[in-house]
């Protein structure tokens, strides 16, 4: 659900429905009772591919030792602005 224009969609929950149209309607009924959303997406859970928790370390490890991808890695003279 996207709560306002300009924001991205975030996950709010799951539900059962016989098809996508009813899923959308059910999602409206369950998750937007207090004006929480401007836009709803529904996706069948079978369509989601998830990273595996067992592979967590090997899967995400390549990023762990690449500190040079962060701005804070670089020393810049103090008087420099807008950098």
């Amino acid at each position: 659900m996207r709560s306002r224009r300009g924001l991205s969609h975030h996950h709010v929950g799951s539900l059962h429905a016989p098809d996508a149209e009813m899923a959308l309607r059910n999602a409206r009924d369950v998750f937007t009772r207090r004006m929480e959303g401007a836009s709803l997406w529904v996706v069948p859970s079978a369509a989601i591919t998830a990273s595996s928790p067992e592979e967590r370390d090997p899967f995400f490890a390549p990023a762990a030792d690449k500190a040079y991808r962060h701005p804070t890695f670089y020393d810049v003279p103090a008087e420099v602005t807008n950098l």
Binding site: D19, A23, V30, S45, A47
Partner: protein, 348 residues
């Protein structure tokens, strides 16, 4: 039934791997982090969570009954709209919790079977009758109030989907307590008859509400393991005391008394002392011998049976619709997801 998330289940772990996985699980708990659906977890952890979350979900659905009883006889349009919204919220809470339980590899149809056959329970508070409209106020103030006191610590329980469902539920539950308090306040400051009706409702709902927290921990068998796994964060007695301390000053503002002559501030303890709880009654109601046990379950089973045609019609319609759509797209060889009547929806 297969778990709602995708990808095939991982192969069963070897003994050496098992030790490593168990250590990882213990580490997550010790660091006060969340266990998520596809993490490895001890079988007993999974089982106890399925039971607890399912019974919580059942409680929400059964809990709709005592209050729905008064929708057609609410004294004003405002009260009727409020009561309908509250009862609808409870249905939604049940849905969030069935969804959370399903992340542990069960299907809600299994859980409903267990409820309908009496093998899983629901909170015994809902086995009491609602005798007057003031009961709606007493339930909102006391029963939802006790539920919130119990549920706030659960927002930090170790199992992610359950904790997140609790956050959402707690937000919505606050409207429930406030409308109840407001209702009692209005009655209590109204006519003599209205005041008496409010007092009578509180007199009947007070003790059952404080019993909602369960027996003293010494007598509660599951407590210790639940605490070790950080599912349960506080003892039953601690939460009960917290609730009583909150209610006493609120009762004073309501202008209503609480039916416990031994309720008294204890400056040494910094808490209210209270009278002895009749645990015999609690056990009786839990065993099935309360005023409304049979009625509550029968009503639930009837609703499920009588609603079958709606579920079947929706599935048949979806199937027919999908068939027409794929023909129109010229994709008659491809079956759509909707065709098998299975769940469609974002995974938790």
């Amino acid at each position: 039934m297969s778990s709602p998330t995708t990808a095939s289940a991982p192969a069963p772990p070897e003994d050496g791997d098992l030790a490593a996985l168990a250590r990882q699980f213990e580490g997550t708990i010790a660091a006060d982090e969340r266990v998520e659906p596809r993490d490895w977890m001890p079988d007993a952890y999974r089982k106890t969570l399925v039971r607890q979350i399912a019974q919580h979900a059942h409680s929400e659905i059964i809990g709709m009954q005592p209050e729905a009883n008064w929708i057609t006889r609410a004294p004003s349009l405002r009260r009727k709209a409020i009561l309908m919204a509250k009862v609808q919220d409870e249905a939604g809470h049940g849905l969030y919790l069935y969804g959370a339980a399903e992340t542990l590899g069960v299907d809600r149809s299994e859980l409903l079977d267990l409820l309908h056959s009496g093998r899983q329970r629901y909170s015994s508070i809902f086995n009491y009758p609602t005798l007057t409209f003031a009961d709606v106020g007493a339930i909102g103030w006391l029963v939802d109030g006790a539920a919130i006191t119990n549920q706030i610590p659960l927002t930090r329980c170790s199992y992610g989907p359950y904790a997140r469902a609790m956050i959402r539920i707690c937000k919505e539950e606050t409207f429930h307590t406030r409308q109840g308090f407001e209702l009692l306040h209005t009655l209590s400051h109204g006519s003599q008859e209205q005041h008496a009706m409010a007092q009578d409702a509180v007199d009947r709902w007070w003790w059952p509400s404080i019993m909602m927290f369960g027996p003293p921990d010494a007598e509660s068998s599951h407590s210790q393991q639940s605490m070790a796994w950080r599912i349960k964060r506080h003892s039953n007695d601690e939460l009960r005391q917290r609730f009583i301390d909150i209610c006493v000053p609120q009762a004073a503002v309501l202008g209503l008394s609480l039916p416990d002559p031994e309720l008294r501030w204890n400056p040494d303890r910094g808490h209210y002392d209270h009278g002895a709880i009749d645990w015999e009654e609690f056990q009786r109601v839990l065993r099935g011998d309360g005023p409304c046990n049979r009625q509550r379950l029968a009503h639930r089973v009837a609703a499920h049976e009588e609603g079958r045609w709606v579920r079947e019609a929706a599935t048949a319609y979806a199937r027919k619709h999908a068939g027409r759509r794929s023909e129109a797209d010229g994709l008659s060889g491809v079956r759509s997801e909707a065709g098998d009547g299975g769940p469609a929806g974002a995974a938790l």
